[in-house]
């Protein structure tokens, strides 16, 4: 069975991502449960220097997970940070091998197994590799395979292991919001260079930061009468939302 660990950003800020994910799972006939009493994966604490607090929180989360899951269960995550932490850091710290799967991996599997039927949509999208999923977990191709099943993928100049970070991670967005915004704006420019209409990514934290940058970019451009239509990008989407666009009779839950 699939145990869905939504992560704090999806749970509290981007609920439409879990809605989209649930719709997809139901459509594919997947047996799943949402971990309703989920706690923090510990990623933020670990990466902002609170190692003892991180361990405490992580142990607690691990206990909850272990109470809930049986050995055939997979833990499904939407957030790249949760993925890297549950899969790699828990292994390093506690020696456990949690069977973690990211939504992009699952979706790509479901499509290739014929369990999820999607129709082509006309959009041109570019994919932003989240650091936690790409460089830190070497998961590059699955999200791309899923995207290419439903639309045209155009790569940014800096992609895969060379992908520019969105600028939010490891406490930078909370400590230095201006810097986080600058980096994300640069990533939006990278995406604009591809002439894609949508940025698709696989990390809820990247989405928050890139959306913020895109909003600023739009405001900037609407002030500039000469160049009104310069930005080709009109949305930042989670991969689950993109797939939803390809499911017949489904609206984007945004």
């Amino acid at each position: 069975m699939i145990i869905y660990f939504r992560g704090c950003v999806v749970r509290e800020k981007l609920k439409y991502i879990s809605d989209a994910t649930e719709t997809i799972l139901k459509r594919a006939g997947i047996d799943f449960t949402i971990l309703t009493n989920e706690t923090c994966c510990g990623s933020i604490l670990m990466r902002t220097g609170f190692k003892d607090d991180a361990k405490e929180v992580m142990k607690d989360t691990l206990k909850k997970l272990e109470e809930f899951i049986t050995k055939d269960d997979k833990i499904l995550v939407s957030c790249a940070g949760c993925y890297n932490t549950l899969k790699n850091d828990y292994n390093e710290l506690f020696g456990v091998n949690l069977d973690v799967i990211h939504t992009s991996e699952l979706i790509s599997q479901l499509i290739s197994d014929g369990k999820l039927l999607v129709k082509k949509i006309p959009n041109k999208v570019t994919y932003h590799d989240p650091c936690h999923l790409g460089r830190h977990s070497s998961l590059y191709e699955e999200p791309r395979e899923a995207i290419m099943e439903i639309c045209t993928l155009v790569e940014m100049d800096r992609n895969r292991e060379n992908s520019r970070c969105c600028g939010a991670g490891s406490g930078v967005r909370s400590a230095y919001p201006d810097t986080a915004l600058l980096v994300a704006q640069r990533r939006i420019e990278d995406a604009e260079d591809t002439k894609a209409e949508l940025i698709v990514t696989a990390c809820s934290f990247c989405i928050l930061n890139l959306q913020n940058a895109l909003k600023h970019r739009m405001n900037e451009l609407s002030d500039d009468t000469v160049d009104v239509n310069k930005s080709s990008i009109n949305k930042v989407l989670d991969i689950s939302e993109l797939i939803l666009m390809g499911l017949e009779d489904e609206k984007i839950g945004n």
Partner: protein, 394 residues
Amino acid sequence: MNRSFRTLRERRDKIIEDERTIQLQERVKNIRAYSIKNMDLLIEKVVKNFEKNGVEVILAEKSEDALDALYSIVKDESIIAKSKSNTAGEIGLSEFLEDKGVQVVETDLGDRIVQLDPDSNPSHPIGPASHLRMDDIVKIISNEFNIDIKPEPRAILDIIKQDVLLKLAKCNIGITGANSVAADDGSVITVHNEGNINLVSMLDIHIIIVGIDKLVETIEDAVSVVKLETIFASGKTVPAYMNVISSHSKTADIEKILLDGMYGPRRVVVILLDNGRKQAIKKGGECLLCIGCGSCIVTCPIYNEIGNEFGYKRYLGGRGVVLSSFIDGNQSCFDSGLFTCTLCGLCTNKCPVGIKTNNLIKNLRNDSVDLNIIIDEHKSIKDRIKKKGSPFKQ
């Protein structure tokens, strides 16, 4: 800066995939790892071999020791010449000498421009003026020399060159850094493109200030290191100049009588600086594997936006942040940008010697929090997570 960095990245990306580069990279990784492991032995050997070659050598434990040693040599001068050196920047050499009334002439074009600009600091180890645009530079120069010049690179070069050469003629002492030091041979290698080190190192006394982390075993190793550095720094296999210096200038052409200082310096003095490096080695020494190519800051998303605010003195970016903890302690490390890093790992991805800067930074954050040197907002987030399982306010 972003534009200069992009050109650099594109040129470099091709050559670093070359089979020969990959082999060289493996060799240099081993050379550097050996050095870090055998530092005490290398120091012992280099002192012996420098002395054998007639090079004076001074071991400086702290910045102040290096500055004192240096001052005892330059104290009677009113002006001295210098080439680019991160180690000189580390000990605050120029500020120290200017304070003592000794004028310091930077001879690298970019550094000279930055030196004339009251508002800026170097932004890349090889391209220190890459954050300045032509118009800024023209403004800096017109202010300094009180003239109108064309916004044209050649015009800028000519005026700086003329001025530096005039000043060099008044200097008796030249100070340079070193890119690599061969302990078994007692030799120093310097790398440059402008030819300025040829001039600076030919003055009456040549002082070389260098960190002990630059030590390797042999000249062959030293050449490998600087070649790899050049490849990753500039995308070319060789710089214009690699100087190997193993002695002062001398001749015995008149009745076999040894005379010092024919065309080159009468004295060569090497100041070998520890300044926390041995401490760093005790903690693994990973950050000292660095060959100073600057590759990590070219790809760093944070550095690309905020520039040399992220880093420590001339040690730019995350690697500088790590080094600062050993040179100057945890508060300085915090101030250099310990928490400005997203731990994205791009620096690690393109480091020729495989330094995992993002991991080092992550570990230093633990030390910092233990000392209560923290970001307040992070503490609030921590408290919320522990209290209600979520980082968010509402």
